[in-house]
């Protein structure tokens, strides 16, 4: 089943649309009567999107959703996704892939904040940049993302992989402040720079191929180590949190 959703031109394109219904399972089960919310107003899916559906699917994994047009304010696409594929041709709004457990989301443009929040499984690939709290958890909750893969080819914002408790997060560009903060498990890789990496980390592994600015002083320097042909400095910590995490860094700079 191929579902094509093209965002219609909107008079006020900045108003966010709550679109948690846009997930393969919805279309696999029922294609009629779907709705989204703008504020507290419930709108038919067709009011916001032109909808085209071709073919049938034997399982949720046979559903592929393509989103075109200005989808930068369409929120919660792929929430609780448990199979199938979503392809966003442009940018996507906040909370894309919340609680996702299986399937694949590909974003050609940028993703707004909270991409893959509390994700359990599946794969998200964002070819542009991601906003703050990419692959993070809910505020206050101890454990965030627990499984699956989030790969961002551009930069990611602050608090990337906050409270990461499983799965893999890869940022090819730079990450903002406090990447991997409160991380418990899983693997975080940042190819560029970040700052205050992994503060309060208690478990898991993180690799920073660029420079960590404002390096947290409560990590113990274990020494040089070669990983995949590159020389890293290995740290253990965060000892301020009795942490047992491992942090590999190419370059680092403590706060002056």
């Amino acid at each position: 089943m191929k579902v094509t959703l093209e965002v219609r031109p909107r008079r006020k394109p900045h108003l966010p649309i709550e679109a948690e219904k846009i997930v393969p399972r919805t279309f696999f089960e029922e294609t009629d009567g779907l709705s989204v919310f703008r504020g507290n107003k419930e709108l038919a899916l067709e009011e916001i999107f032109s909808v085209a559906i071709e073919g049938e699917a034997a399982s949720v994994d046979g559903v592929e959703i393509t989103i075109l047009g200005d989808s930068s304010r369409i929120k919660r696409v792929g929430e609780y996704m448990d199979g199938g594929r979503i392809h966003v041709m442009g940018d996507i709004g906040m909370h894309c892939g919340n609680f996702m457990s299986a399937g694949e989301i590909v974003i050609d443009g940028n993703a707004d904040a909270w991409l893959g929040r509390e994700m359990r499984g599946g794969t998200i690939r964002c070819h542009g940049s991601a906003g703050d709290f990419c692959a993070a958890g809910y505020r206050g909750e101890k454990r965030g993302m627990r499984g699956g893969t989030v790969e961002v080819f551009g930069d990611a914002g602050d608090f990337t992989a906050e409270t990461l408790a499983g799965g893999t997060v890869i940022v090819h560009g730079n990450a903002g402040d406090l990447a991997g903060v409160d991380m418990k498990d899983g693997v975080l890789t940042i190819m560029g720079d970040t700052s205050m990496a992994c503060a309060n980390m208690s478990g898991g592994r993180a690799y920073v191929h660029g420079t960590v600015y404002d390096m947290i002083p409560t990590f113990r320097n274990i020494g040089r180590e070669t990983v995949g042909g590159d020389v890293f400095t290995r740290f253990a910590g965060d000892i301020a949190n009795r942490g047992k995490g491992t942090l590999f860094i190419r370059n680092y700079k403590y706060m002056d």
Binding site: Y138, R139, G140, E141, N241, R242
Partner: protein, 566 residues
Amino acid sequence: MTELLIRNACVIDPINDICGEIMDIAVRDGKIVESVGSGAEVIDAGGSLTMPGGIDAHTHVCGTKVNFGRYMSPEDMRAGRTARRGHMHATSGYSVPTTYGTSYRYSAMGYTTALEGAMAPLEARHTHEEFAYTPLQDMMANTLFDGNWPVMQAIHDGDIKRVAAIVGWTLSAVKGFAIKLTNPGGTEAWGWGKDVSSIRDVVPHFEVTPAEIIRAMIEANEMLNLPHSVHLHCNCLGKPGNYETTLETFDLVPNTNDKRQSLYATHVQFHAYGGSSWRDICSRSEEICRAINQKPQIVMDMGQVMFGKTTTMTADGPMEFNLYRLYHNKWSNHDVELETGSGIIPVYYNRKNLVNSIMWAIGLELALLTDNPWQCILATDNPNGAPFVKYPEIIALLMSKRYRNGVFQTVHPDTEHNVPLAALDRELTWKEIAIMTRAAPAKALGIVDIGKGHLGEGADADIAIYPLNINEIDPAKAPEEVIRAFGQTDYTIKRGRVVCCRGTCMVDGENTTIWVNPRISENHSMDHDPEFARNFDKNYTIRMRNYPVQEEYLQRNLCIETEARL
């Protein structure tokens, strides 16, 4: 004039010695009257259990500390979400709900009055603002004096009249209801990184002991003729072996008031531990209850712990630091200049954990071993021991030995070697539950005279009708029926209006804040005391004239004026 007639109510009203009589209750303009006219609105209770509205004598629901619990635990707001509906606002939160969430859930359980357990005087405005948004319960605020600098100075100087004068001035300035001492002296010591480990330790810089503070405050309380007694959270909360401190504290208490107790000891479960470490902690409920049974001058509440997630919040800053070191989770620590402090951490009481299992057992033991139910009030120190929505389960545990045994099977297997609970066969009666949840709280708080906790003529028409026929249900055999009935009333009536019907709140509501204003002679008034004013302006970061809570912070309110012997 509005009139209401409740027919065929099976009434339990311990203060008026009514136990299970089928009768009609007449209400005019919010008060209970002898009879009403034929035009009155009629509710047929159909023989259902009908009692005065429930009164929580110790709960934490409004104020800065509660609110900090909310914003340090946004994840708690994911639980208990309800949408806006009719007169009901949207709510969220489980252990620290929004004020409306608190109010609606209490109301659904038939509770119409509550005492906020701890209000820092300096931060009183926040408490009163939240009272205004807790519309379905009349509210009172315990006012913290455990580390009050001018009070400790006056105690040190041996000037009890001055202690009373400062307390009286402060209570009326902040629109408080009663004196609360939380770990007296300990929270002040915590401001210097210390704590007190017994009631004989000396508080740094003030050279007074917790014992001196407690004794002086009891005396001052009676001098001010306050409706409630001193409300004490003993020293050494949560420490193995602390029952000795609790017993020593009880020995300080004279029997000075013939209408009510002279000391209210709160959440005594947390103060009834034997042993010397977490490894050998055990229950000392028998020793505690032996003392309570011999001392009519003391009333306590259970401080029952129930398994599950909750948030601890108290003015006992050093205790929360110890908990933080145990759990290593997020923690808040707060100092209130010249007065008190507070700490907050989220916790999870686990039935597989021996210490938590022992705590659970001790609370129940206190209720079962206290001969006179007027001396042991049902409460969880909400939300410290458990959110108040667990009260129906606690009632069932107290009324059914079989249910208790069933839960006992699920707790840590070593619990039975450390607590006497399994040997206790007592099953509380409907009347005893009515006493522990409305009559005794009203009497202990001193609010029977203003029409709380009973259904006699002239009383406030605060009434709870539970979907339960006590002549048909055996609580010992049908605990699930007890839990269901106490979890949701058919009707909760407040000031003569049905405010909640089968869980749906029917009105916007407007509660009453009850506060005290002790009349003190001019020559003892702090308003005309140059030394008090000088020290106030020297030590506080605000001016004395800006300290009192302005009338506009109170909406509907009832001021209890007392004649101080000063």
